[in-house]
């Protein structure tokens, strides 16, 4: 399958102001993200997750190696806007991403800047808002909305740019459980519609929904595989300040007690179905 993003020997260093020391955040990283895939990126605070995400749409530029979005090199100034339109990003704090005092104006901000025809903007905004189930809020003021609703507006703003890929940089971290659920529902829907999704998260129950998980540690890829493969590496994960999803943890405990729970059970539904066979 075609690549959405191709990362070749990516190195990223921050210059430390005072001592002039360089801090290497990403080391010689190689990665390909397939079109239409759903990838979760895990790693402790400071492992380089967010830096990697910002390198994926040219918000940060590599200090070594290269990042290609479709076939555009993110370091090429000529095509940076193509890159940003193809790969949109949703950030952590819902209060930092909204620019307008009316929801639909906010969603229109991106397409307006792309110079989209006003009639087309109208269509895009309506479609984007309905795709995040916020159509009836279009004339509201964003500050009257809950955190989860604000994040949905931020997502609509990205969707209205017609991106092929959306990068969620801990987009659910500041939300309550209901808000998180709303966002994950939308994320999965967008992915089913064909948008490539990259989710950076600390929540294992979100990662388990992806079809691929990448674990970063000190700027390098520690694990890369399907959720089943990655969550089989319990010790490696705990060493990396991560944890197991509930169902994986519980299934492992039951196995130790002599109950043969199949290895491919990684989510709650699977475990419930398995136990219900012993009715």
């Amino acid at each position: 399958m075609e690549n959405m993003i191709r990362i070749e020997n990516l190195t990223f260093e921050y210059m430390h102001d005072e001592e002039g020391e360089e801090q290497v955040v990403l080391k010689n990283l190689n990665l390909e993200i397939k079109k239409g895939s759903f990838t979760a990126i895990l790693g402790r605070n400071g492992s380089g997750k967010s830096t990697l995400a910002k390198n994926m749409n040219g918000l940060l530029l590599p200090t070594g190696g290269a990042v290609y979005v479709k076939n555009w090199n993110t370091s090429d100034q000529e095509t940076i806007w193509d890159v940003r339109q193809a790969a949109g990003m949703v950030f952590q704090n819902p209060d930092n991403q909204l620019v307008s005092s009316i929801v639909e104006d906010d969603v229109a901000f991106g397409p307006e800047n792309l110079g989209v025809d006003p009639e087309d903007i109208r269509k895009r905004v309506d479609k984007a808002l309905s795709s995040v189930n916020m159509g009836k809020f279009r004339r509201k003021s964003p500050h009257m909305l809950s955190g989860g609703q604000k994040q949905r507006i931020a997502i609509a703003g990205v969707v209205a740019m017609k991106p092929e890929c959306i990068i969620f940089d801990e987009a659910t971290a500041m939300l309550d459980p209901k808000g998180r659920e709303e966002i994950m529902y939308i994320v999965k829907e967008l992915n089913e519609e064909g948008i490539t999704v990259i989710c950076i998260t600390h929540f294992m129950d979100e990662a388990v929904q992806a079809d691929r998980i990448i674990v970063l540690e000190q700027g390098e890829i520690l694990l890369d595989g399907t959720p089943r493969e990655v969550f089989a590496q319990e010790e490696v994960l705990i060493e990396a300040n991560l944890e197991l999803p509930l169902a994986v943890d519980l299934a492992g405990r039951l196995r130790k007690r002599g109950i043969n729970v199949p290895e491919d059970i990684i989510n709650v539904e699977g475990l419930v179905d398995y136990i219900c066979r012993y009715k």
Partner: protein, 288 residues
């Protein structure tokens, strides 16, 4: 030391077009040494309620008695309340500002007018209490620490005031699982060492079940449920109706129970769930 909140009501902008009743007739009490978890979805009044407990907000009506002082009475010195009740805000690391960790933690005690020796003693103890190494960290800039460390330094700043009641607003939000676990252990340690009342807000039902003696459930400015974690989390449907959930492990057990299995759904942590499932599966297999 105990806390009694009686008929607490708070109205934002009374008499104005944007008047909003944030809390209405909230009453509860906290016994000496209790750990209280407060849950409720965003906007339910949790933070507003907490801010009353250390006098940041004044109630529109009702009383709050902390120890033997009614802090809502006129003439009560705010400084005395703040000394007794320490409040750690959400994302407290955003409030770090000093050049070194030791200076940052010392800021509160300095404002209490304590002498140098006492301040140093307190700073040392507070940093140790949050699980950091005083000698290693005292001269470092708070801004070069990891997210979890920064948060613990910020909490140390409140602990150094030696409050008799510690309030934490979403103490684990945004941390990775490892740092999250360290904060939980820190809260358990602080409670073990001081034996004081701790009140915390969390969206993580697993944390609430693990730490709390008592759970308060807020919805739309009202206290709608309270009780032990087992009591509160057995009311799955009532919680769901106000946008809340039970701990993930309880949810799993309840699903099994609802599917007609002879399983006790009221398990709040993995150890309990493991035992219950082993009991069930072994017995069922023997019957096969």
């Amino acid at each position: 030391m105990s806390i009694q909140v009686k008929n607490l009501t708070h109205i934002y902008s009374p008499g104005m077009p944007d008047e909003q009743v944030a809390l209405e007739d909230v009453s509860f009490s906290v016994a000496d040494g209790e750990v209280v978890g407060v849950i409720g979805h965003t906007g339910s009044g949790k933070s507003t309620m907490l801010q009353h407990l250390n006098g940041l907000l004044k109630p529109s009506s009702g009383t709050i008695v902390v120890g033997d002082v009614d802090i809502t009475e006129k003439g009560v010195a705010m400084r005395e309340i703040r000394k007794r009740v320490g409040l750690v805000f959400q994302y407290p690391e955003y409030q770090l500002f000093e050049e070194t960790v030791a200076l940052d933690v010392a800021f509160g005690p300095k404002n209490l007018g304590l002498d140098e020796d006492e301040i140093e003693k307190r700073v040392r103890a507070a940093i140790k209490e949050v699980g950091l190494d005083y000698e290693k960290i005292k001269d470092r800039s708070p801004f070069e620490l990891s997210g979890g460390q920064k948060r613990r330094v910020a909490i140390a700043g409140v602990i150094a005031m030696m409050p008799e009641v510690l309030i934490l607003d979403e103490p684990t939000a945004g941390l990775d699982p490892g740092a999250h676990e360290e904060i939980l252990k820190m809260i358990e340690r602080i409670h073990e060492n001081s034996g004081n009342i701790i009140i915390f807000v969390s969206h993580n039902m697993g944390d609430v079940a693990r730490l709390s003696d008592k759970v308060l459930v807020m919805d739309d400015g009202h206290l709608v449920l309270s009780g032990t974690p087992t009591e509160v989390f057995s009311k799955k449907d009532e919680l769901k109706a106000i946008g809340l959930s039970v701990p993930p492990v309880t949810n799993l057990m309840q699903q099994l129970h609802d599917r007609g299995l002879d399983i006790d759904p009221d398990k709040l942590n993995l150890d309990e769930a493991e035992e219950e499932l082993v009991r069930y599966l072994q017995r069922t297999k023997i019957n096969d």
